[in-house]
């Protein structure tokens, strides 16, 4: 930092020297050699808000000298021992500086050096300041407020579901088809292909897919059908194996389970697609289920599935891939329907409660959009000032990233 600021200082002085040499009037040059610029004043160091206690914000009033004769400012820092070292430099138009990577709880003073043609004029030192950390970022009160409302609702609904209250969720098209599709594969004596997307277990879509897998695997176990599940992530393979194993256990047929039902292929996207494509045309599954996070492989897989005449059910929250599933599959769970299906099938109070809580979030969003649009329309069409204020201060105050 010191080297950098010294470098900038040298550059500024060099630049100043060149400027001075470029002057036609030699008298000006002589004057600039003698007169130092007026120093900066009112140097204040304050704790930077909402950080982890490593930053101080330094500000000052600019030098009163002719702006053309001030080339910049050097920021000097002392650790309470009156020994000032330069920690940075800024151009003359700027009058603030954030000093980073300090030690929390330690006291620091600052001095500002105004760089002129003939040298550096030092300001009075600032009062000592101590960098401190804060537990909460109060500027993000709006997010906390809405977050508490929605999370509170989720928790309340979860408890309510656990207490035995039946939570209503509307019927989701395509779910009935799931069992039908598994049944069809059994009748035809052909396997079921389950693809849980190509993302890892840290993707919520993969989690939803694994939950649905539990239900599908149970039906497969009951019907004594065959499931194939090539995956592209090792962690997904681990979870899938556990889920299928549990389904076979609960169906009372643990001996029918085999680890080969879910197996790892490769992390490489198109390598995985090539392998699954090959599997599809050779094994000819009667039912293909694509549930999870998909990318470029969505169309390739569903197109191949279509070409072998399989019943295809897809579900993803990746907007870019939905068009292909909608076009090539028999049923598609669009976006959040995937998560809803997971909650619906599992009947898990946590998932049901989350879904209901999120519905409350959607109500908040819808109300905000109606109020906001109304206010914006009234404000712009009829110049109603109070509406503009409501829009700016209330609505945008809440729905913005401070």
């Amino acid at each position: 930092m010191r080297i950098a600021s010294f470098g900038i200082f040298i550059l500024l002085v060099f630049g100043c020297g060149l400027t001075a040499l470029a002057q036609d009037d030699p008298i000006d040059m002589v004057e600039s050699e003698i007169v130092l610029p007026a120093p900066a004043s009112k140097v204040i160091a304050l704790n930077h808000k909402y950080d982890i206690g490593e930053i101080l914000d330094v500000s000052w009033e600019s030098s009163t000298s002719d702006p053309e004769l001030v080339f910049g400012y050097i920021i000097y820092r002392s650790e309470g021992d009156n020994k000032f070292d330069s920690v940075g430099a800024v151009l003359s138009k700027i009058n603030s500086f954030s000093d980073e990577e300090l030690i929390p709880g330690k006291s620091y003073n600052y001095q500002i050096g105004t760089i002129g043609a003939s040298g550096v004029a030092l300001s009075e030192p600032s009062e000592p300041a101590i960098p401190d950390w804060e537990l909460f970022n109060l500027e993000m009160w709006n997010i906390a407020l809405i977050g508490f409302i929605i999370c509170g609702a989720v928790i309340a609904y979860i408890f309510s579901a656990k207490a035995g209250r039946k939570l209503f969720i509307r019927k989701i098209g395509g779910l009935e088809a799931l069992e039908e599709a598994v049944g069809r594969a059994t009748e035809m004596g052909r396997p079921i292909l389950f693809i849980p997307g190509i993302q890892d277990m840290d993707d919520v879509q993969t989690l939803a897919a694994i939950t649905i897998l539990g239900k599908v695997a149970r039906v497969v176990a009951d019907y004594d059908s065959k499931i194939m599940m090539p995956v592209s992530r090792s962690l997904v393979m681990t979870s899938a194996r556990e889920t299928i194993k549990e389904a076979y256990l609960s169906a009372g047929r643990p001996d029918a389970y085999s680890d080969d039902m879910a197996y790892y292929v490769t992390d490489e996207q198109f390598g995985y697609v090539a392998a699954v494509n090959g599997l599809m045309v050779r094994e000819k599954p009667a039912t293909c289920l694509y549930l999870g996070a998909f990318f470029a492989e969505s169309l390739i897989l569903s197109e191949t599935g279509n070409s072998i005449g399989a019943i295809q059910i897809a579900g993803t929250a990746r907007p870019g891939q939905l068009p292909f599933f909608v076009a090539a599959c028999d049923y598609t769970l669009i976006g959040e329907e995937l998560f809803a299906a997971s909650a619906y099938l599992s009947g898990d109070p946590k998932q049901l409660g989350s879904l209901k809580g999120q519905d409350l979030g959607k109500v908040v969003a819808m109300v905000a959009i109606v109020l906001g649009t109304l206010a914006a329309t009234l404000a712009s069409a009829w110049d109603i000032e109070i509406m503009q204020k409501f829009l700016d201060n209330v609505m945008l105050g809440i729905f913005s990233n401070h």
Binding site: T238, E268, G320, F324, A340, A365, I369, L391
Partner: protein, 209 residues
Amino acid sequence: MEQFGIWLAALLTIGIISFLYKDNILYKACEAIFVGVSAGYWFVTYFWDNLYRKFYLGIQGAELSDQIFLWMAVALGVMMLTRLFDKIGWLSRWPLAFIIGATAGLYMMTYFVSNAFVQIGATITPPPSMETIGDKISFVLIAIGTFCGLIYFFFSKEHKGAFGGAAKVGIWFLMVTFGASFGYTVMSRMSLMLGRFDFLFGEWLGLIK
């Protein structure tokens, strides 16, 4: 040697493209090579980037707190491998729980702020220029589309009556969006194909500059 690489890449590309005709021996061979090589590549990448660069180099001269974090990560990684042993296989659930928990926590904030708050704010903020009739129509359309889209994804009420009507409008908006997205994706897929053709006709056959 470089020419050998180009010839090999060209043959493998043709092998994979031959799947468009039908499954064949050449495709099967290419598929096996692709899967094997990519799995190996990932293994090597993770070894050098994670174990060597991030852990081995990272721990040297690091502060004690950073060293502890790195060792904790290694411990979690080793716990994943306990799956290989039946008796202590349950330990592998812990790192899995850690990954899922940490990601859920991160997503909660990022999606809440970037995909919900800022987007609602943008929906109700009139665009800087509302002069033309087109600007006004697009502002209203965005608001209606977002509203009806939210209704479609509302699961606590049956889609009947006016509510069902609004949901239908929502799905229409979604379908129009899918159409646009479809167009973009077709463009992207053509680009992938172009890349390979550029290689075949350029680098391999030398017919294009």
